[in-house]
């Protein structure tokens, strides 16, 4: 399994770059993960989503989908796409150090 160094600490990630152990995540790692994903700086709104995603993961064991994020994070789906271009659910999960959200079937 690959390891990456964020904020001076080695962490385990899967082949797509998602944390395999969310316990290893620290807030100071988020800006670096975000930069790698093409987000130059994290705003207050980014943090609102990141904290919400962490909270949801701890509650349910999986990250929320874009639709669920739009209904529960206080940030609309349209804004989510501006904050985390391409895939808000995936990018927010990656930045928040949790596994890739399980898709619907």
């Amino acid at each position: 399994m690959p390891t990456v160094t964020y904020a001076g600490t080695q962490v385990l990630v899967n082949e797509e770059g998602f944390f395999t152990d969310p316990e290893q995540w620290r807030e100071e790692m988020a800006p670096e993960i975000a930069r790698e994903a093409g987000i130059p700086a994290l705003t207050e709104q980014h943090w609102q989503v990141i904290k919400h995603v962490r909270h949801e993961y701890e509650l349910r064991g999986t990250g929320p989908t874009v639709r669920a994020l739009g209904k529960t994070s206080g940030v609309s789906v349209k804004e989510l796409y501006e904050l985390f271009p391409k895939g808000p659910a995936k990018l927010a999960a990656k930045t928040a150090g949790i596994p890739k959200p399980r898709g619907c079937i």
Binding site: V66, A68, V77, Y81, K86, G87, G103, C104, I105
Partner: protein, 420 residues
Amino acid sequence: MSERIVILGGGTGGTLSANRLRGMLDDDVEITVVDHDDDHVYQPGLLFVPFGLARPESLVRSRPRQLHAGIDYRRRGVERVDINKDQVHLEGGAVLPYDLLVIATGARLLPEETEGLAGPGRLPTVHTFYEYEGAEALAGALAAFDGGRLVVDVVDMPIKCPVAPLEFCFLADWYFRERGIRDAVSLTFVTPLDAAFTKPVAARALAGLLAEKGIELVTEFNTGSVEGGDGDDAGDRLVSFDGREVPFDLAVMVPLHGGAAYVDASAGLGDELGFIPTDPHTLQSTVRPNIFVIGDAAAIPTSKAGSVTHFEGEILTRNVARFLAGEELEPGFDGHANCFIETGFHKALLIDFNYDTEPLPGRFPAGVGLPLLRESRLNHLGKRMFAWLYWHILLPGRDIPGVAAAMPHASKHVPATTDH
């Protein structure tokens, strides 16, 4: 004191649960089914209506007439459920107390949640086949369509019968070939998923079929709005949240799905989409022990499909009986789904899967059965015959001979290297 079971929803799950329970439980257990109308629609048939392959009125039967003797039917909308007082509040003010509640109210279409899909802003070029009137209207639009760009778009998951939009594409290809105008029609399938289907082996087979039939595949497209109309120079088009566009002359949309409206009005009952948090193996809700959930209404990781509801029925009703008897529940449901996929030209594919095993090639239910993940005429006949089985075997709560609730493993070809 006699126990009262209230079943919300008189569709596939509610009807088959009521009938099975009536046969299993003592006569002093009251069973009441509640639904807001008298129209039980055989939903798999809606796919065929736009192509003139099914008459819409032939798909509808009376809800209460599918229920066995000894089951009460209340024709009334549900306002809300009070899970703390074990009461269902009906529209008009009546209150139904329950000892055990079965939720079978399915999924609801939410076109109003996508800009340009509902209300006065909806374009005349935008259709759906996911409900009765829509399927009928689309039949007219297809008949009048002489060429141009037809797109089939899934706005977001989860949806009922995730294979139906693909089937629509395959049938449209066949339909326009029969009419001799296939060269004048471009067909595009637009999905929020990163592939044609959720599971890798089936996704590859289905992507292959799309390519073979000349149907374009657009993936990871999260539809934000449907735009266009008279005077818009850019023409009618789907616009994704990340700014991509797919132009069309006729759009067949699968709108967002959510749970029944009363769920949102019932404190503590549903999740943010209106589906009920449910144990995936026992089918007991995780909100209250005396609430069980069957079919599309449940927030569990399997397809929202009639076959799933059918397989759930056996486990759910056994667990309801166990619960009433004070016994431990059986974690018996494995997520089994079994779907015919119409591919046109009198052929169909069959896929069979569960929580742990993706759809694989082979035979169903055993070595001499129907071919899996491969086009055949036999599968097409199976799909067309299923309407009869639905009304006469499945709803009355009988078992289909040879088809068990648990997914069969024998006679499937397990790939040497799996994708998970």
